[in-house]
């Protein structure tokens, strides 16, 4: 087993950490702010040409072409709605901030599909439990970004951790701690903090595998339970074993799995809609 490493030790081989576009950071920062206007969002996205192009492509991905393409960010926000545009900005902005397909053997497609799956399950559970769905969506989209950082900082050890996980049938964060002396939840929270994202999101990323460590956090509970549900629905990783469930998280949220059936078809439809945005 590797001795536990400090984040600085681990990151000494990384020339530059991934940077989120300024517009994405601003939009995430005010995710809880109902005062942000359509004009604010249009201006933020419009100032970044690359992001604008990606958002328009994503906004048109699921629409039926005979109804015409959305040609401007202003139209996109007006037609699709502010909440959904924020989600698209975060989905696209986060994904495009990380180098893709750099580490052979790492399943980038299903990594992002899993993130979206947790985000979609999280959003629906947030509606049911009365928590802000947008904050849950963003936290879920970011919850595993630490894996991408680990794959950049120590590619060989990270590959070894993936092999360890498969051969020992343990959880990914346990394999990372054993092989790398660090886990994706900690380093993901570190990066989110460095980006200046709200503490509630950073804490949810850090604690999604251990939601019972004090102080408890309802957002971490939601990401944890959504992760279990998305695994059970095989969103992203097919045939992966279900991770252990914190019964306390479930209790704190007041969720009863037996009552979720009316929501599953919609979760699956929303997931299919959202993964089109990724492509």
């Amino acid at each position: 087993m590797n001795a536990l490493k400090s984040i600085d030790e681990l990151l000494q081989n990384v020339d530059q950490l991934p940077a989120l576009p300024k517009a994405v950071i601003e939009i995430i920062r005010c995710i809880d702010d109902s005062d942000i206007t359509v004009q604010d969002v249009v201006k933020l996205i419009g100032n970044d040409i690359g992001l604008s192009t990606s958002i328009l492509r994503a906004a048109n991905s699921a629409r039926i072409s005979v109804h015409g393409k959305i040609a401007s960010i202003n139209d996109a926000v007006m037609i699709i709605g502010l909440k959904q545009i924020r989600e698209i900005v975060c989905t696209v902005g986060v994904k495009e901030s990380f180098p893709q397909n750099k580490l052979s053997g790492f399943d980038y497609i299903n990594f992002w599909r899993h993130s979206v799956g947790v985000a979609i399950c999280g959003k629906e559970l947030a509606y049911i439990t009365g928590v802000n769905p947008s904050v849950v969506y963003i936290s879920a989209m970011l919850h595993d970004i630490g894996q991408l950082v680990l794959s950049m900082a120590a590619p060989n050890e990270f590959r070894e951790a993936m092999q360890y996980r498969a051969s020992h049938q343990c959880q990914d964060f346990e394999a990372e701690q054993i092989v790398l002396g660090m886990d994706h939840a900690k380093i993901g929270a570190y990066l989110a903090t460095k980006w200046g994202l709200p503490k509630v999101i950073c804490d949810a990323i850090e604690k999604h595998h251990m939601p019972d460590t004090a102080p408890t956090n309802i957002m971490a509970d939601l990401i944890h339970v959504s992760g279990i549900l998305s695994h059970a629905l095989e969103m992203g990783y097919i045939g992966h074993p279900i991770p252990p469930l914190s019964e306390r998280s479930l209790f704190r949220l007041g969720i009863n799995f037996a009552r979720l059936k009316p929501y599953l078809a919609q979760i699956e439809c929303d997931y299919r809609n959202a993964i089109q945005i990724l492509n």
């Binding site: 039926i64 074993p241 799995f257 599953l264």
Partner: protein
């Protein structure tokens, strides 16, 4: 008299639908047609419930859905599987779901989740 006849026809239609074994089918929005019955809730742009399960799709509703960023919807369809076909499918799905849950220590909540997924997978036509 004409109104009564129409009322009777609607009543008969409702009774037939209530007695029909229903399953859920996910379809591309492009294939959705007026008269189809929604199988799950669709939320509006601000997260409010826009349409609930059981709502009948009309041309107006479809036009409104087409403007949204939606590619897939779920509809109800008659379950035409025989008991034998259903039993075979149940066995196959159960085996797959049991494999997903094999590494976790069983408890009542995980059992609820396993049954939820089993029930849904058996009902849904993906």
């Amino acid at each position: 008299m004409g109104m009564d006849l129409m009322g009777m026809q609607n009543e008969t239609f409702r009774t037939v639908r209530e007695k029909m074994k229903i399953r859920v089918k996910l379809i591309p929005l492009a294939l959705a047609e007026s008269g189809m019955i929604l199988a799950s809730t669709i939320r509006g742009v601000n997260g409010q419930v826009m349409l609930t399960a059981g709502a009948e799709l009309s041309d107006n509703l479809l036009a409104s859905l087409h403007t949204r960023n939606i590619s897939t919807i779920s509809i109800q369809e008659e379950d035409l599987r025989s008991e034998e076909e259903l039993a075979i499918e149940r066995e196959k799905i159960t085996k797959h779901i049991d494999a997903l849950f094999q590494t976790v220590t069983p408890n009542s909540n995980l059992d609820s989740l396993r049954l939820l997924i089993l029930d849904y997978r058996l009902e849904a036509h993906l």
